[in-house]
Amino acid sequence: MPPEQAATPESSPKPWGATIPRRRLLRMLGLGALSVAPMSVLPELLRTVGPGRPVEPVDGPRKPATTRDGRIRQWTMIIDLRSCDGCQSVGGPPRCTAACIEGHLAPEPMEWIEVYEQELAGDGTRFVPTPCQQCQNPPCVNVCPVGATFSTPEGTVLIDQDRCIGCRICMAACPYDRRFFNWGEPPIPPAALLADYSAEHQVPARKGTVMKCDFCPDMARAGTLPYCVQACPNDAIYYGDLEEDIATNGRVVVAASRFLAENDAFRQREELGTKPRVYYIPGHGEAVGRDVFTPGRAPAEWPWTEIVDGAQPWQR
């Protein structure tokens, strides 16, 4: 047995041997354990020292639109499927999609309002123009880690591309497949470089971020209808305000609640509980003389990208 062993603190009256190293050891252990604890407050700490941007999701750059007596507008869209033939009669890609692409300079292959061809019970098809459904219980907003996508007081869902980190969990969460990613460098025309970026218009597009239909609240505030509503040759798309109970397709004005109720309106995938702001009147283009057994529509095009040198689209 080595002689040092006799001198170990085991035999000393103080059982633990009053050595400093033990304190140091404990202190190091304590510090180690403490380093776990601050993890939960780290975001708060970083926020206080972080860049001077608002903590809460931005509410859009401007005040929400209000009625004359000061109530906040609740934007809505009603799409009358009886009048939608997927632009079969007009020829070419659906006009709503085309106008939206042109107006927002949407990069190829994004179709913020996409005209799906849905099979009907029995046989035949109908066309369903599908913009972002502007959910009131939006799965995408719930999952966004940085508040880049957010609900506005006007009941719409917007994306701040200056905030988006490109994790794409919102795309996994959206049950309507209405979100699009800038996988590569989006084409940007020279004029768009000077544009004031706004989450309400999303120009210019930014690489590595998510985009989608923004419901054109800036245009509504200025007294114009969204591009898709203006462009529809059959006036199938109504835009309006549920707060004032009014909607228009640019030709007629309807009382939104009565119009919805009397025409058996529905919302897409109602069972999910997402509470969309986009309503549909059932139909298959019969009001504009479409035969239910005439399938197919022209694919969307992105003619505006021709003005950008070296635009490199990606596949859908």
């Binding site: 047995m1 080595p2 040092e4 062993q5 603190p9 085991e10 059982p15 633990w16 041997g17 050595t19 400093i20 190293p21 033990r22 140091r24 050891l25 190091m28 180690g32 354990a33 380093s35 776990v36 993890m39 975001p43 970083l46 972080g50 860049p51 941007r53 903590v55 061809e117 099979e119 599908t130 799965p139 999952v143 966004c144 880690p145 940085v146 508040g147 905030r163 988006c164 980190i165 490109g166 994790c167 794409r168 969990i169 795309m171 996994a172 969460a173 309507y176 497949d177 979100r179 990613f181 996988w183 590569g184 460098e185 690489k207 590595g208 971020t209 997402t274 490199q312 990606w314 859908r316």
Partner: protein, 455 residues
Amino acid sequence: MAALSGWQERLEETALAPVRRTSRRFWALVAAEVAILAWGLYAYSFQLRDGLVVTGMRDRISWGLYIATFVFFIGISHAGTLISAILRVSQARWRTPVTRIAEFITVVALICGAAFVVIDLGRPDRVLFVFIYGRWQSPIIWDVLAITTYLTASIVYLFVPMIPDLALFRDSLKGRTSRWRAWLYRTLAIGWNGNVGQRRSLAAAIGVLMILIMPIAVSVHTVVSWIFAMTLRVPWNSALFGAFFVAGAIFSGIAILIVVMAILRRAYKLHEYVTEKQFLYLGYLLAAFAAIMIYANINELLIHGYKLEEGAGFHLRQLFLNDFAPLFWFYLIGGLFGPIAIVLFPATRNTRGIVAAAILVTVAMWIERYVIVVSGLRVPLMPYAPADYAPTWVEWSILAGGLALFALLITLFTKLFPIIAVWEVAEDHEATVSAFEVTSPAVPEMPAPSGGTYS
């Protein structure tokens, strides 16, 4: 006592050997790992320049190989928790020689897993936004919180039981190693000299940590599963998902531990400590978890398949018959039934067989993560033709780089730190020996856990 001290010396010599001698093969291995890692970084440079367009991901299958690999790495990080916490609590003595290796794997796998999330970001330049603007509503923030906590906790849990061994290194290598290494061991040993007080606080600290780390580990893989389960997608819509992911995590953790153990045992001649017993016992655990995974899969698939809600039929067809059938069947047969069969038959119930089973399981569990991510996104939500996804060379290269980083970090760790928990092995050996000795001392002597004042 002489026999015991001889045994102890040999143990310390084995632990010190990797630090004392560095073979040419070691440098060849490091060079190979660095080369693969560099290739991965080269591929990543394309992604940084051009964006995620260089991957096979697109709007409809917006996650792919990166997220699958992230889930896989976080899964195998459960090796350490299982071996050093769960088995420590149950006082399974056979685990002590492999404890340190398991804890290495945990820390390294977490680092690699976290890297893959950042690689997957469209805007890696904004990664700090999750701290600046983080919202508690988001499963991603739960993940950030859980993984950083787990990483911190497992580094502490790797470090604390290593203190006596670091003191051994400090004392044994005094004057015989480079200055920075001497400094490293001196600093990390934080004045350990092995007196009773220190041993008591060490035991207390380990006792607290091993309890603490278990709920953390379970919560980590649960919230990883919630990234998927919190979305409105049929294949991911399951209350079982959290438990399913945790079981899969421990399953793959055992497998990777067996693989790494076999490699290190061979490289550093640990045959005296890492024996067939360790492989067999871990093999039994592997088979047990394979059974749990089979149960979970039956639960998952039968509940979806019986009702065949919208999308479920499509999902099951793509798993069993169409696009994912080769992968999924390999996972089911090779990854779940395979290890059970290998452990069941006496002919294959040996080190070699169990290492083979572990390799099967490691591959199968990566495939399982891949199939969960990609097949879940592939089920069409709206009337459109199902999208397709195939990883590009950039994704495969970055995957290879990630695996090389994992191997490289483990390789370097073994050169810097004791790969065997010397004092714990010695303590267990002492306990075993004294159990046979009738003339045990009145005050049970503890073996010298380190050089310290004893040497």
